[in-house]
């Protein structure tokens, strides 16, 4: 560098496109995830484990459901459970990184807050995809789950995309509870939501009152919707209403906290 370069040619300096979003960053984030054994255990292995326990029980696994069977029905439920765990923990990572001061560090780089969120979303969708594929591959290999080939693809795609609802949930909770314990809180909340949504036990087994309450919980609508291609029958608009309502609540909450967090004082 020569002395004449002391005059800074500002025109020479560029701002990155897309607010700094780059696939290379997502690749590094995924590598970080793979290093985190606990996250992998909870999001990828647990749903597979649950499927092996509940999905292969020969007393009901082969019972018919639409063009498929109960085992396929449970496989969809467990894949959804894994996918929402992945996306919500991806959102909640924001909390841990904020605590470490990383968000602040990023603010003295060209990375825009929205691009940072997008990186987290894409990363958690990749983890979610791993969770879904793990359950479906085990479903395929164990030969109990049965439904037409196109439904394997349709249900997997639907629940994977639908799990984005919980990315907003994870972000919201992550911003709300800035602590390392946020993962435990989310794990517990998702367990409750999963019972409420009928992922673990069919809602028909619940008492009337509990069943009525369950229809208002955040996983209910999404769970019914991703099973619909298999179950078929009459479409219930309250499922869609439930999904939209919770999407609005979680997204609004996340945006509200996000704005508060990135506001400059």
């Amino acid at each position: 560098m020569s002395a004449t370069e002391a005059v800074i040619d500002i025109a020479d300096r560029e701002e990155p496109p897309l607010g700094g979003f780059k696939p290379a960053i997502v690749r590094l984030e995924v590598r970080r995830l793979l290093r985190n054994r606990r996250t992998l255990l909870f999001t990828v292995l647990f749903p597979v484990f649950f499927f092996l326990i509940f999905g292969l029980n020969s007393s009901y696994a082969k019972n018919r459901v639409g063009p498929g069977n109960v085992s396929a029905f449970i496989m969809i439920s467990m894949a959804l459970y894994g996918a929402v765990l992945a996306t919500s923990s991806g959102g909640a990572m924001v909390a841990v990184e904020r605590l470490a001061g990383w968000s602040r560090q990023l603010r003295i780089t060209p990375l825009q807050p929205a691009a940072y969120i997008a990186i987290k979303m894409v990363t958690s969708l990749i983890l979610g995809l791993a969770a879904v594929l793990a359950v479906y591959v085990v479903g395929l290999l164990t030969h109990k789950a049965s439904m037409p080939a196109y439904l394997w693809v349709v249900t997997a795609a639907a629940l994977w995309i639908g799990s984005l609802l919980f990315a907003a949930f994870g972000l919201f909770v992550g911003y709300l509870l800035p602590s390392e314990n946020v993962m435990q809180v989310i794990g517990f909340a998702l367990m409750l939501f999963s019972f409420g949504g009928g992922l673990f036990i069919p809602l028909s087994q619940f008492s009337h009152l509990l069943r009525e309450m369950a229809t208002y919980t955040p996983l209910y609508g999404l769970n019914e919707l991703v099973h619909y291609p298999l179950v078929q029958g009459t479409f219930n608009w309250t499922w869609a209403a439930n999904l939209v309502a919770w999407l609005v609540i979680f997204t609004a909450g996340a945006i509200w906290r996000f704005r508060k967090d990135t506001a400059r004082t």
Binding site: M1, A3, T4, E5, A6, V7, I8, D9, I10, A11, D12, R13, E14, E15, P16, G20, K22, A24, I25, L28, R31, R32, R35, N36, E97, A100, G101, W102, R104, Q105, L106, R107, I108, T109, P110, L111, R264, T265
Partner: protein
């Protein structure tokens, strides 16, 4: 947004093709005009005007709560001033950050424990359009051999060198360091400053806040002392030392005339200790001349206050009030501004 240009009279915008250095002044690296920062009822910064020219190496000194970090945050665009304007190379601070013109080594935090040193540098490099090669900045920060180590397993000094490597990536024209050597051992500090010094030769503007006063003395061209949100002194470390009631003249003299000594211009305090006399003054030459020509004084010694004493005198709780306190009597300006060339033309 705030148009910074309107506050920098005499500055011709640069960056146009064909612009030749030397014909016009480049915009100041940092230009603070009437900056106030209030947090509720607390006024952390109370009217700072500060202009740091391109290529200057400036130490920002002050006790905790003086407003150093608050000021650095505003220069980085992490917060906005309540009043006044902040410009970095004539730009809004956030634009300067996005263009990689300014980067910083923060005091603590800002690292993820579950990434390796190498990954952290790579991650940061992806955030900018153009950077120096990661291998090069790691070499310059001395962390090449720990590239594969997890950040959580690094010592405080190693983490700080990592932050330095990250800050070097965009090849910034302005580098801000907030207490950069805290938590480092002597060897680490020496290595760190050697790297910074090497770096400053390339023409980079460097502003650092530090509690190690000898570092300010040894590494800065200019020292800006801040107290209670105001600049109390600004100049070379020699000028700042002189400001804090100047020098001490000591001589062996029996029956010294205390009144005569006290009447010499610039004398603050005369102390008689048996057969020796100690005079605190801002004009040691006048006192020495009097002692050597009008009295039989011998063994005369003149000593400057260290920057440490200047720091305590100017920023301590009992220190002089920023505006014309007793300690600054006779100093070259009771507001403490002594720097004759604040635009950094000296480089």
């Amino acid at each position: 947004m705030r148009a910074a240009e309107q506050h920098v009279p005499g500055i011709v915008p640069t960056g146009k093709p064909g612009h030749r250095p030397g014909e016009v002044h480049p915009p100041a690296a940092i230009d603070l005009v009437g900056v106030h920062k209030r947090f509720g009822s607390v006024e952390a910064v109370r009217g700072i005007d500060l202009r740091i020219g391109a290529g200057e190496v400036v130490a920002f000194l002050g006790p905790n709560g003086a407003g150093k970090t608050t000021t650095i945050d505003m220069v980085l665009g992490l917060s906005d001033p309540t009043e006044g304007t902040v410009a970095v190379f004539g730009l809004d601070p956030r634009d300067a950050v996005r263009k990689g013109l300014v980067s910083a080594v923060m005091q603590s935090g800002g690292l993820l424990k579950d990434m390796t040193v190498g990954e952290t540098v790579a991650y940061t490099s992806f955030l900018f359009v153009r950077t120096r090669p990661p291998a090069e900045v790691m070499e310059r920060a001395g962390i090449t051999d720990i590239a594969g180590r997890l950040v959580g397993k690094c010592s405080g000094g190693e983490q700080q060198r990592l932050r330095f490597a990250m800050a070097l990536l965009p090849d910034p024209d302005l580098l801000l360091l907030d207490e950069p050597t805290q938590g480092m051992d002597v060897e680490g500090r020496r290595a760190f400053w050697a790297a910074i010094r090497q770096d400053a030769k390339a023409g980079r503007t460097i502003v650092f806040a530090t509690h190690y006063l000898e570092e300010a003395d040894a590494y800065a061209d200019r020292v800006v002392l801040v107290r209670k949100g105001e600049v109390v002194a600004d100049g070379t470390s020699a000028e700042v030392k002189a400001l804090a009631s100047g020098r001490t003249v000591r001589a062996t003299l029996v029956d010294a005339d205390q009144d005569a000594l006290g009447s010499i211009a610039g004398v603050d305090h005369v102390e008689i200790r048996g057969s020796s006399v100690v005079v605190h003054c801002s004009d040691s030459d006048a006192v020495a001349r009097y002692l050597l020509t009008q009295t039989p004084a011998r063994d005369l010694e003149v000593a400057a206050l260290g920057l440490e004493e200047a720091f305590v005198a100017l920023t301590g709780v009992d220190g002089p009030d920023p505006v014309g306190g007793p300690g600054s009597t006779g100093g070259p300006g009771s507001t403490g501004r002594t720097n004759p060339e604040p635009d950094g033309a000296r480089r």
